[in-house]
Symmetry: C2
């Protein structure tokens, strides 16, 4: 892990570069082909793809049965159930507090304008398979959907060759009120949710992480066929540290980021070379004790320690970077947070590790990566709603605005727009 | 304009089909080439494209000067200035009322979670050129940006061969506090805003309508390079009418929609053939009096009158369609609006024509088309903000959650995530 001591401002942009997932024409082509096959072939194509790509014996049941849910529940330990329950309560409490209210004002006498939040009806959640069963992501994506009031919340997730889904994933789905779980993985799951098949009713918006095929599929259908939650990229953390921080804690947080994958990135920004060296040592020491040491080692290569002379520069650098996770381990950390203008989620002080937010504090862990925090929010209650505007003009209200509207319509050359007002003013 | 009398529910989906702008491989290729040229060539490429595509004598000044702003202000009539002022006040009032507040709760003792709205820093607005100077869109896109607190709001708009921009557009930009207006049109404007050039600082999010080249450019950079406001499509209106509606008003609203362009769509849903016939007659009569009669005629071909037996079906059909503009001209229209689950903006009663919202009631006229209302909001104050979450755990708060976090991390196979908590519990 390289230390950069007081880099010149013109180097900052380069220091903010991410290990880009990047465009991949080959992946895009494979995915585009899968999307087409599912769009045209429906369930039959899903079956063929499951056989070709995942090696499943086909046909198999696309939908998880009640018996499978029951078996999953029996297999999850009581301690994990209790942990999931606690996390679910905190996530519910925080997302419920975000529920928007209707806005209503009279902009002029007789001209009432409203903004009404309405839940998206049909929501689809994708949960990746692989080695780690991401049941925490089920909670993060399904709980706010339920609180928002989405009528139909379905999930797609890959199964293994025997058609099994990780028990904790099914358990989490069930306690979040997801009734339908499709055993479909990869780009074909995104295709099924976007276009629909005989078995899968299409959704209005797709949420969830995935590998590069899933990401490419979401990018190809997003904004064309269906809405998606946000652009995806490798996970990242930035930690701001000064002499009030504990190097061992900083090291542990960097490593918990690095175990997400080889393309993850951890950045420490601190105010002295001495602290930088201590943190570096602590990272090396702790890394050697981890089972996944080699794996973590690769993502440490993307990681950096940057020493900047003062707090003002540290905050400016954090704002340029726009971290997915920003841990502020500085003196007066809330004051520093007030200066942050771009971050997915902020962790305050020495006892707010990233893993608290990843699992259980109540905040959402689906957050903008790769600098998207400059323009995107993480998943929150708004992600599951639309805001419809409503206007109600009385005859007097319209009369009050008639000249304004007709003058503007005439100036834009839109005769019929003006006429729609004039005809109402004539018929009194 | 064809009348469909009581169509069977299985026909409804077809009746909701839009005149699709559709994917166009040829346009996509041209646009992709323009994006590349600007990305690599910067200002020089912008100049060449302005010469090739728009026939401008180059080099020309990319940025509107103070003298040009002053000249524009002198050229706009006092009556139009007054109208713009009134509209701006209503738009400001309604969007200011939408400003979100910070959310703060303690999910558990010692675990504080916050959600903080933060304005997007750099925002770019595209305003099309062409025959109609869309100064109203300047108001709709720039006023909320200012209210949200965006630090830098720039605009790009094409100029004519003499390098001129419509005075009303410049006047509107200036009163909205836009300091920098770039004279760049088409896909190259989107490229400049997304990638930046020597003269154009790149933005975080691009707003605004445009022709198919602009739309394709926004689609290509959106979610890859920069955020965009929403997917684009031809404009549309649906009107729900019963015996409390006035056929002449309904007709005028359909025609004001149809004058937007040949691919616009107007749908009337009413509850009797008699009313349908009356509305059809009124449309034909009024259409013949318009200067743009022929133009309007073409978009009337995309338009329909649908007769459904009762109010419940009418509302269900409206929700399936998900109109950009929905005029509810029914008995108890607010009650009907309570049943609407998908619409961009709703217009209540006989005196709320679409043109009121297009210009001056206060609601935003940048709205989701083509059924995107099922998953997207129109432009509103949220469009210019992100919501950052913040969590602050005390040592006791973390202790309370420690078992939950480590149990979940272990179950997901994320050892270092658990370690980040354990190390903090050891150092007491």
């Amino acid at each position: 892990m390289k230390i950069y001591n007081n880099p010149a401002p013109e180097q900052w942009t380069d220091l903010c570069l991410r290990a880009k997932a990047g465009e991949n024409a080959e992946v895009d082509k494979i995915v585009s082909n899968i999307l087409q096959r599912v769009r045209i072939g429906g369930d039959e194509a899903l079956m063929q793809l499951a056989s070709e790509i995942d090696g499943l014996a086909i046909p198999y049941d696309l939908v998880v049965s009640d018996a499978e849910f029951a078996k999953a529940e029996a297999e999850v330990s009581d301690s994990l159930k209790a942990a999931i329950q606690t996390a679910a309560e905190n996530i519910s409490a925080f997302h419920r507090a975000q529920l928007p209210s209707e806005v209503r004002i009279e902009t002029m006498p007789g001209v009432v304008c409203m903004q009404r939040p309405v839940a998206i009806h049909n929501v689809g959640i994708y949960i990746p398979g692989g080695t780690a069963p991401l049941f925490s992501t089920v909670l993060m994506l399904a709980i706010p959907a339920r609180i928002a009031g989405c009528r139909r919340v379905v999930m797609a997730t890959p199964c293994d060759r025997q058609g099994r889904v990780a028990p904790a994933v099914l358990y989490a789905a069930r306690i979040c009120g997801i009734d339908t779980v499709y055993k479909i993985g990869g780009a074909q799951a995104i295709a099924a949710l976007a276009y629909g098949t005989e078995s899968v009713t299409p959704v209005d918006k797709i949420f969830g992480p995935g590998n590069r095929f899933v990401t490419a599929a979401k990018q190809q259908v997003g904004g064309r066929v269906v809405s998606i939650d946000m652009p995806a990229g490798p996970s990242e953390v930035m930690i701001l540290a000064d002499d009030t921080s504990v190097p061992e804690f900083v090291a542990a947080d960097i490593l918990s980021q690095c175990e997400h994958g080889a393309d993850s990135q951890g950045i420490v920004v601190c105010d002295s070379m001495q602290l930088a060296e201590k943190i570096k040592e602590a990272i090396e020491l702790q890394a050697s004790t981890l089972d996944r040491a080699e794996f973590v080692g690769r993502s440490l290569e993307n990681s950096r320690i940057i020493v900047l002379p003062d707090r003002k520069d540290m905050i400016a650098f954090a704002n340029l970077y726009g971290a997915e996770h920003l841990i502020i381990s500085l003196r007066d950390p809330m004051l520093a947070a007030d200066g942050i203008t771009a971050a997915g989620s902020i962790f305050i002080g020495n006892y707010s590790p990233e893993s608290a937010g990843d699992y259980a504090s109540g905040t959402n862990h689906t957050l903008p990566t790769s600098g998207w925090a400059h323009s995107c929010s993480g998943v929150n209650i708004d992600s599951y709603m639309r805001k419809t505007t409503i206007q109600h003009l009385t005859q007097e209200g319209l009369a009050r605005l008639a000249d304004t509207i007709t003058t503007m319509a005439d100036a834009e050359g839109l005769e019929a727009h003006a006429q729609a007002v004039k005809i109402r003013m004539q018929c009194k």
